[in-house]
């Protein structure tokens, strides 16, 4: 898997100082803790979790908006942090593009759509100057803004939310990136518009062979677009694997909880919903050894409070951090817990 990965996170951690640092009382918030995964070309990977779980921190670490506390990001097999040459940094910035939640805040209100798309084309010399205009129109066409001549003239305030998000996507595509990171790209859009953006993501993935990271709290949309899913809880990836496998046959009790909380008319009256204590998915300050989900988990056994579970591949391609549903061989021997199949 490593060989074909475009972008790879290896043991990525980010800690923030918390509380009253001056008085020496504050701890460290472990916003992302030992996060590892690979983004492969032509694949959408969904990173799901609740607010505060650390998913946006991970997205920002990948985009080099944050410097990791430890761990590294590999781009085409090379450590990104090791190379400080301006050219390499610029190349990374153009090859790894980000789309944000708020399509209103990410466009300049006094510039036309044409300006937003032509600028990156010129700066990064993507096409010769005399072909910039044609390329702008092509990009608009690709993201479904037709007729492109008309949309190129428009200012952001003349566009709807969905159209603005399409412009933001076209701008990200302008520099022909290998990696696209989309942080909740549909959460501020109207429901009837969202599916169009999700469809666009699916199409672009296939057409451009993009390695796509889709950060979201919406499991149903993750299932709709993603090939792989990463589930985050309190700064850690607690489950990962093929989307359909994770969302239809979750291993981790937190994944089960998330799934059971989603309103889904198709499962009304379904007794499968599990009973779980309330609590928060937020990253914790100086977390103790042991499983972070322990306070809410119905499956807890003795070892859960003593040992932090590692990601264990319990089914082909599907891993979870859970001593009960995905025990490591050592834990299984000690506790005689059989994995749940």
């Amino acid at each position: 898997m490593t060989s074909s990965a475009t972008l790879e996170a290896l043991g990525l951690s980010k800690q923030f100082a918390a509380g009253e640092r001056l008085l020496g009382r504050g701890g460290r918030v472990h916003a992302a803790d030992d996060v590892s995964f690979a983004l492969r070309p032509g694949t959408i990977t969904a990173l799901v979790g609740e607010s505060g779980s650390g998913k946006s921190t991970v997205a920002r670490l990948l985009a080099r908006l944050y410097v990791p506390t430890s761990g590294s990001v590999l781009f085409e097999g090379r450590d990104v942090a090791a190379d400080h040459r301006r050219r390499e940094v610029l190349r990374y910035r153009s090859q790894v593009q980000m789309i944000f939640q708020d399509p209103f805040g990410s466009l300049n209100p006094v510039k036309t759509v044409r300006h937003h798309l032509a600028r990156p084309l010129r700066i990064h010399h993507v096409v010769p100057r005399n072909r910039v205009e044609q390329r702008v129109l092509d990009l608009l066409e690709q993201v479904g803004l037709a007729p492109p001549e008309k949309f190129a003239e428009k200012y952001p305030h003349e566009l709807s939310g969905g159209q603005r998000q399409r412009v933001a996507i076209a701008r990200a595509l302008a520099v022909e990136p290998l990696v696209l990171i989309a942080d909740e790209p549909t959460s501020m859009l109207d429901v009837s518009i969202r599916i169009g953006i999700l469809n666009l993501m699916r199409d672009l993935k296939a057409e451009h062979d993009l390695a796509f990271l889709y950060v979201t709290h919406d499991l149903a949309s993750a299932r709709y677009v993603a090939d792989d899913v990463l589930v985050m809880y309190a700064g850690q990836i607690v489950e990962q694997g093929p989307a359909e496998q994770v969302l239809q046959h979750p291993l981790h009790p937190y994944t089960q909880l998330l799934l059971s909380a989603v309103p889904d008319p198709a499962t009304v009256g379904d007794a499968k919903r599990i009973e779980i204590r309330k609590g928060r998915a937020s990253a914790s300050v100086d977390p103790a050894e042991g499983c972070r989900f322990i306070g809410r988990c119905p499956l807890t056994v003795g070892v859960c409070s003593e040992l932090t579970p590692q990601l264990v591949e319990a089914r082909p391609g599907q891993s979870a951090r859970c001593h009960v549903t995905a025990p490591s061989p050592v834990v299984r021997e000690e506790t005689h817990v059989e994995p749940i199949r």
């Binding site: 709709y224 359909e244 998330l258 008319p265 009304v268 919903r273 779980i276």
Partner: protein, 344 residues
């Protein structure tokens, strides 16, 4: 311990003939003259005692304006330009300031989307209860505080939290405090305007479950406003779908789920990818909601409607020129669409 597990099938629609609240041809304008925007245009809606009614639609469709009209808290430039808002048969427009003040919170209370902003950040939660109660009835501070504690316990918060400031409470807890406040005077109708939109799914489910339990116990009616139709299908007894200032379809939840008739409702249903079953490519709804300053003629949904085609000349002429009216096709199932019910 709060159970997240729920048996969620909507309880049978209570068959109560009397009407608690009725909107008759409600029209609300923002501004006037050439800058007038008609946010709500002829809405009829009835809410019966003890019933959970869902009002669904996209941003700008007028659903919150309907709620504000019911609560009589519209402020200029918004004004009721036509129709009536009846509470137990009495027209709210005829009430004086004092009577209106009694109407709010006592008859109808409201829970807003962002509880974070609805609580005063520099007042303890308990004091905010006391203020609210003492504005409405003669009650001693001590009694009011005791009742505040009872109400907090009702929504699953430790009663000692009356001493907490809002910033000491999580988002979910603040939303529960607001719900407790809304229930303080035992209103007959609680309006909830996107009460869980800012919250995570797990917290959302806990709160909805609690509202459902309280509603069964105390018997108040709920008008639940949201853009999330899938949530309403689980939670509400009856659902009204709003589009561009009008109600386009209304039906019991189960009926709406099984047999949506308006193309907009069908489009909305197809906008939520499923969590189970096959993953098929979904179409959503093309285009965007109209500008209410200049709504399309005829059916307001016609520019986005997959069934509005010039080839079908006679129908097309009606769709683009004649406004469809809400018609009852089956008991409790009303639709405003030229495609259904008129032999088209």
């Amino acid at each position: 311990m709060i159970s997240v597990s729920t048996e969620l099938p909507a309880s049978p629609v209570p068959v109560v003939p009397e009407t608690l609240v009725e909107l008759r041809g409600l029209v609300v304008d923002y501004g006037s003259g050439s800058r007038r925007v008609r946010a709500v245009d002829g809405v009829d809606l009835a809410i019966h005692p003890g019933e959970i009614v869902g009002l669904a639609g996209e941003s700008g469709c007028g659903k919150s304006t309907v709620a504000n009209a019911l609560m009589q808290i519209l402020r200029p430039p918004a004004r009721i330009a036509g129709g009536e808002v009846l509470f137990r048969g009495a027209d709210l427009a005829r009430l004086g300031t004092d009577e209106l003040r009694r109407h709010r919170w006592r008859n109808v209370s409201m829970v807003f989307q962002s509880a974070m902003n609805a609580l005063n950040p520099v007042m303890r939660a308990g004091d905010q209860f006391v203020d609210m109660m003492r504005a409405h009835e003669r009650v001693s501070r001590r009694d009011a505080l005791t009742r505040a504690g009872d109400l907090l316990e009702l929504v699953g918060i430790d009663r000692r939290r009356v001493r907490s400031y809002p910033h000491e409470l999580s988002g979910g807890m603040r939303q529960r405090v607001i719900i407790a406040m809304a229930l303080a005077l035992r209103p007959e109708l609680v309006i909830m305007d996107e009460p869980t939109t800012a919250l995570d799914v797990v917290v959302q489910r806990e709160i909805l479950q609690q509202v459902r339990d309280l509603q069964r116990e105390l018997g108040f009616a709920v008008l639940f406003i949201t853009h999330d139709l899938s949530l309403l299908l689980e939670f509400a007894h009856r659902i009204a779908i709003m589009y561009a200032g009008e109600i386009v379809e209304e039906a019991p939840s189960a009926t709406l789920h099984a047999e949506p008739l308006h193309p907009y409702t069908i489009g909305l249903m197809r906008s939520f990818p499923p969590l189970t079953g096959p993953i098929e490519r979904m179409a959503g709804i093309p285009g965007a909601p109209p500008d209410l300053a200049d709504p399309p003629a005829g059916c307001r949904f016609h520019p986005r409607c997959p069934h509005c085609l010039p080839e079908n000349a006679a129908l097309f002429a009606r769709q683009t020129a004649e406004r469809p009216v809400l018609r009852e096709l089956a008991p409790g199932h009303r639709v405003a669409c030229h495609l259904v019910g008129s032999g088209a």
